[in-house]
């Protein structure tokens, strides 16, 4: 490090690299450590205006989280942003920079001497707007589907997945006409020519010669410019004014740090069918844009990576920016380790140590995994000292075929990463990119873009997954839920209450509550009710019942703690009214699905959760959903007295209701006969009243009809006269398929010995009147059957094997075969069924006389 070339020192933030000098082993920069931002938590407050980017994201996310009760600032589309930034923060920022410029005291004459430092960049023009997309030879035969790339040469510059880039903030290009590659000297306002040094405070560049007194060489230690030093001492400083008529050109770095530009990390790149290039990225944020604002420990070049996706697929107003065209050029965001090692990456070097959670405004140190990857990338950089070399090492023409590209990439990584440990895929919590390549089965294009027939549309809309446009038949219940919730939260006191909802599966319990919550959300947006938070928990998706505390606490505060700690905090919040975080305690609506799963042995979890609402100032409303009607009665009296008062029953749907549900889904699709729907709904209503079942039957019926229609039309392509609608017969067939028990068919298809075995079982049952028999008795009966009817008795061991086979598919219930003679056997189906199945067997007509 000591003999770092001058060029390298020039653009280096001297604060950090000076640290490793003292200690031979690497230590991460201490500034951020002293005040660990990961603990530094600023909860979302109503007052604080969220920063632009986050506000936009929050408004998108607010469906499931009611965190921004106030309406997000309306300035979403990039186009509406005027030339000069409007939000207070950035005006302040730009003012700051302008004041700096104003206060220039004419200081030094210019010393244009040494030749310009060569910035080794191929790309000359800053913005690639409107440029023709130059790619590979491949471009001639345009593939009809979306193609994913690992690297793309765009406008003469190569972008690889995982690269960090500057992204234009506005669509209509730059506020400054040119994007200088080289920063201008703060004193002489000329770029290049001679060594420049960077102030560690204001990041301004200065020619060594322009300084007062001029420096001979770049100092080893931290260096701050005279202006900053003077400012620190409390003096009024006048920064040099630029010569009249010359506007100070700002570099991209400056623009980024004054939030006129954005930086992002590319996660995947693809080409759309229309030959435009898109990418998906993680945004970076400057400290000013976080809810906490710039902290004293933040370095000048520090950025935060957000957990915020810029995703073109989500209907995001930002997604326009995600065309490759809005990418300006590379920047280099580095982990502390690399940043310390950084040499001459130029002006576009940034430092990133933490991830910023835009939802919770919390910080998290970037995980090891990412470091691992970045290390690999940085190795690339280090191996070949300059950018240019690095680029030339990669073969620029090779990416004609995407697959080869990937293999290439893999080969490269293999030898390099001996140290990288195997990481479980789930350590990233499903945030995985490049799924386009994994071995799943791709859905063929012709299937995806196939014009749907009426039947297919019917099938589509009958899917359980499709959310119906309207929810018929549960108006009364929804009304009740909605008045319950509103009554609870609109009270000034916000008295906590409990509601217990029960009903058999498939009667729309969860769906109704969620629909009510959606309508409440829209009311919240229109401002007619007070803000609240909504937490939804499914008892079956918790690992243990105690984990519910953790989930609730995480939903309320964004922190993950152990359940004991969470219980402690929640107790404080609900019983003592202590605030969680900084914000005011909003009423909390807690929806617990499958409540019966929370019943532990001493029922403490349920007790705690149902006790909180009764406390004053708890502002907690609990809605529990379960299948059993008498759950409160089964619980301890102190719990049932807290829960059992307010109940709501979702009865099984009647056939009219089922019919209405199906018809409302099929509205506008002429595929079903009316009687067919009625038949299906009557059948289901008679059995369970489960709407899911009814929908499934109809869907299956539609499939059967579809199959029938296709079969008809394929042999004779002429106008086939077959009915295209789903009729009674199709529904009948679907019901048959679904409700018919397969055991009779299995018995009929079993082997000869199996049949004799079962007949023996029935015979024994009639003879003794006992359901249970032993293998010894049965073997005796079977051997009698065989000898008296001219069959060969296969031996006890074979018979045992036959019995075990029947036991495996549960036609009989039996003990393990090792019990042999003592094995206990019992029929699993009514003996009448077995007798019915065996009666008219052609193979063994004599069986009938034993049944």
């Amino acid at each position: 490090m000591a003999e770092t070339p001058i060029k390298a020192r020039k653009r280096l933030d001297l604060k950090t690299p000076s640290k490793p000098l003292s200690s031979p082993s690497f230590l991460p920069p201490q500034t951020p450590n002293t005040q660990t931002p990961s603990r530094h938590f600023i909860p979302p407050s109503i007052e604080s205006t969220p920063t632009r980017r986050s506000s936009r994201r929050l408004s998108l996310h607010s469906d499931d989280l009611n965190l921004t009760p106030e309406k997000p600032i309306k300035q979403t589309t990039p186009k509406t942003l005027a030339k000069s930034p409007k939000t207070p923060k950035s005006t302040r920022k730009s003012k700051l920079s302008s004041t700096q410029t104003e206060k220039v005291s004419t200081q030094e004459p210019i010393h244009p001497k040494s030749p310009a430092l060569s910035e080794k960049r191929k790309r000359k023009s800053g913005d690639g707007l409107g440029n023709a997309v130059k790619t590979r030879a491949r471009a001639q035969n345009v593939p009809k589907k979306r193609v994913y790339y690992k690297k793309v040469v765009f406008d003469g510059c190569e972008f690889v997945v995982g690269d960090d880039v500057y992204v234009k903030r506005r669509e209509n290009a730059s506020s400054d006409d040119e994007d200088p590659e080289v920063e201008e000297c703060r004193v002489c306002f000329r770029g290049g020519r001679g060594l420049m040094i960077e102030c560690d405070d204001c990041l301004g560049g200065f020619h060594l010669k322009c300084l007062k007194p001029p420096l001979k060489e770049v100092p080893e230690d931290d260096w701050t410019c005279g202006f900053c030093e003077a400012k620190k001492l409390g003096k009024e400083v006048q920064l040099p004014m630029p010569p009249k008529g010359k506007k100070r050109a700002r570099t991209l770095r400056e623009k980024l740090l004054s939030s006129d530009l954005w930086a992002a990390r590319i996660e995947s790149i693809w080409k759309e069918v229309d030959r435009t290039y898109w990418f998906r990225a993680h945004w970076y944020m400057i400290p000013e844009e976080t809810a906490a604002g710039r902290q004293p420990h933040n370095l000048r070049r520090e950025l935060y990576r957000t957990n915020d996706f810029a995703d073109a697929e989500a209907n995001d107003p930002l997604s326009l920016l995600l065309q490759m065209e809005s990418v300006i050029r590379h920047c280099y965001v580095m982990s502390p380790k690399e940043f310390a090692k950084a040499r001459n990456e130029g002006d576009d070097v940034f430092f990133c140590e933490y991830e910023y959670d835009i939802r919770w405004h919390s910080f998290k140190r970037l995980a090891e995994i990412n470091d691992e990857e970045e290390d690999k990338d940085s190795d690339d950089d280090d191996d070949s000292a300059s950018d240019e070399d690095w680029k030339s090492t990669k073969d620029p023409v090779s990416e004609s075929e995407e697959d080869t590209d990937f293999e290439d990439e893999i080969e490269k990584k293999k030898p390099r990463g001996p140290s990288s440990q195997e990481l479980a895929a789930n350590s990233r919590k499903g945030r995985i990119f490049g799924l386009q390549k994994i071995g799943t089965k791709s859905i063929p294009k012709h299937v995806r873009c196939h014009k749907q027939t009426e039947l297919e549309r019917a099938k589509q809309t009958l899917l359980l997954a499709t959310l119906p446009k309207s929810l018929p038949c549960r108006d009364r219940e929804m009304e009740e839920i909605s008045t319950f919730i509103k009554g609870a939260i609109c009270d000034d006191q916000c008295l906590g209450r409990c509601l217990y909802i029960h009903g058999v599966p498939g009667t729309g319990k969860t769906m109704s509550v969620l629909a009510v919550m959606r309508s409440l959300k829209s009311e919240l947006d229109s401002g007619s009710i007070k803000p609240y938070s909504f937490v939804e928990i499914n008892g079956l998706k918790l690992a243990t019942a105690e984990n519910i505390y953790r989930v609730i606490y995480e939903a309320l505060s964004g922190h993950r703690v152990s359940w004991k700690k969470a219980l402690h905090f929640l107790n404080e919040r609900f019983s003592e009214g202590k605030q969680v975080g900084k914000g005011v305690n909003k009423p909390c609506i807690l929806l617990i699905d499958e409540l019966d799963l929370l019943v532990t042995r001493n029922q403490s979890v349920l007790y705690n959760i149902l006790d909180w609402p009764t406390r004053p100032n708890s502002k907690l409303i609990v809605i529990g959903i379960a299948n059993t009607m008498d759950l409160p009665e089964k619980l301890l009296p102190r719990i049932s007295s807290r829960m059992g008062i307010h109940r709501l029953c979702f009865g099984p749907y009647t056939y009219q209701q089922l019919q209405e549900i199906i018809m409302s889904r099929l509205k506008g699709i002429d595929a079903f006969d009316k009687q067919a729907v009625e038949f299906a709904s009557r059948k289901v209503a008679a059995i369970s009243g489960d709407a899911r079942r009814a929908l499934e039957i109809c869907r299956r019926a539609a499939e059967i009809a579809d199959y029938r229609v296709k079969n008809q039309s394929s042999p004779a392509d002429t106008t086939s006269v077959g009915k295209t609608n789903v009729g009674m017969t199709d529904v009948e067939a679907a019901i048959q398929e679904m409700f018919q028990a397969p055991h009779i068919q299995v018995i009929r298809n079993s082997s000869k010995m199996g049949k004799i075995f079962l007949a023996g079982m029935v015979h024994e049952l009639y003879k003794t009147g006992m359901a249970e028999t032993t293998f010894e008795k049965l073997a005796f009966a079977v051997s009698c059957f065989c000898t008296s009817n001219g069959e060969q008795f296969p031996g006890c061991d074979t018979l045992l094997r036959v019995g075990c086979k029947l036991g495996e598919c549960r036609i009989i219930i039996c003990e393990p075969g090792s019990r042999h003679r003592l094995q206990k056997l019992q029929l699993n189906f009514p003996s009448d069924d077995v007798a019915f199945a065996l009666k008219d067997c052609q193979e063994l007509p004599w069986l009938a006389k034993y049944l």
Binding site: N426, S427, R428, K429, G430, I432, L435, Q436, I438, T440, K441, S442, I443, R448, L463, L464, A465, T466, L467, V504, P505, G506, N538, L540, K541, A543, N547, E594, N627, R692, R693, E696, R700, E737, M738, A741, P742, H743, V746, N749, S750, S751, K752, M753, G754, E776, Q792, P794, G795, C796, D797, T798, R801, E808, C809, R810, S818, H820, R821, L822
Partner: protein
């Protein structure tokens, strides 16, 4: 080691990502009934995830149990789409086609043409043979699954005469004998005289309606037989214990229950695991069996 929560989140995230990338995932749960144990969290989460538009996935459960869907909890069953496919063993006609298809050599193989022709000709003769058909019938009378047939064919082909390289009916007949072995009977055939004594003693005890007996009572019976018939074979007690242990290992006899594990084996109640019919057969087949035992068994047979 990720927790259940993390893994669920991961799976759901993956499903969403794959759905966005227009990829389908097919999840096959073999031995489906095994997943229906406990709280069925996995099935619930998985089937619930199937019901969102973004996940383009299919769950296929495979089970040998007919009542697999009855094992599911109500709320899980409601989320199942109740499509059932039953796989039945092949019928007679299908079987004939299957056999011919499996056994005949393909014409376009690398083997010499004349050999293929001869092999297939011989095979057709075998398939039409009455004896072969009977063999197949005996095989399938106990178990008519494809799995069983494949094992049988493998056994038959591996016993093929390598000199001629042509299958014969005998190959199939030996194979069927090997398939339908009677392990318990064969075990008694190989028993030592002392072991046979013990088995017969146990049988006699059972005939006397003695519900529970242990090694000591067997030894008493053994001594009684020795005293009344003056048999030449009388062994010391510790030798008898060895024989007794061997019988336990062969699973010709077993303990009544596993409860009193810590007791020494002499005192634990035992049971005969072989039927009198099989024992009788075994004694007949055993060459070294003393006549007195056969006589005793005949008595028992007559009495019952």
């Amino acid at each position: 080691m990720a927790s259940f929560d993390d893994n669920t989140q991961f799976v759901i995230g993956m499903l969403r990502e794959c759905g966005l990338a227009h990829k389908t995932i097919i999840i096959v749960l073999d031995e489906f009934h095994r997943f229906a144990q406990g709280k069925q969290r996995l099935l619930y989460s998985l089937l619930d995830a199937m019901q969102s538009v973004t996940s383009q996935a299919v769950v296929i459960g495979i089970s040998c149990r007919l009542d697999a869907d009855q094992l599911l909890e109500k709320r899980v069953r409601s989320r199942l789409s109740h499509r059932k496919l039953l796989f039945c063993p092949p019928s007679k006609e299908e079987l004939d086609r299957l056999l011919e298809c499996l056994l005949s050599l393909p014409v376009s193989s690398s083997l010499p043409q004349s050999y293929i022709v001869e092999f297939n000709k011989e095979l057709r003769k075998i398939l039409a043979d009455k004896k072969f058909k009977d063999t197949i019938d005996t095989l399938l009378s106990s178990d008519s699954t494809v799995d069983q047939i494949l094992r049988f064919l493998f056994l038959s082909v591996s016993s093929m005469d390598l000199k001629t390289g042509i299958l014969s009916v005998e190959n199939f007949m030996t194979a069927v004998v090997r398939m339908n072995r009677q392990p318990k009977l064969e075990c008694t055939k190989d028993c030592s005289i002392l072991e046979l004594y013990i088995l017969v003693c146990m049988k006699r005890l059972e005939m006397r309606e003695q519900v529970s007996y242990n090694f000591n009572s067997i030894m008493k019976e053994y001594k009684a037989i020795h005293d009344s018939f003056q048999t030449p074979d009388y062994y010391a007690r510790n030798v008898c214990i060895r024989a007794f242990e061997h019988l336990l290992q062969c699973e010709l006899i077993s303990f009544m229950d596993n409860r009193r594990n810590n007791q020494s084996i002499e005192f634990r109640p035992v049971k005969l695991l072989i039927s009198p019919y099989e024992l009788h057969q075994g004694l007949k087949l055993n060459q070294s069996c003393p006549t007195i035992l056969q006589k005793l068994m005949d008595q028992i047979g007559k009495r019952s």
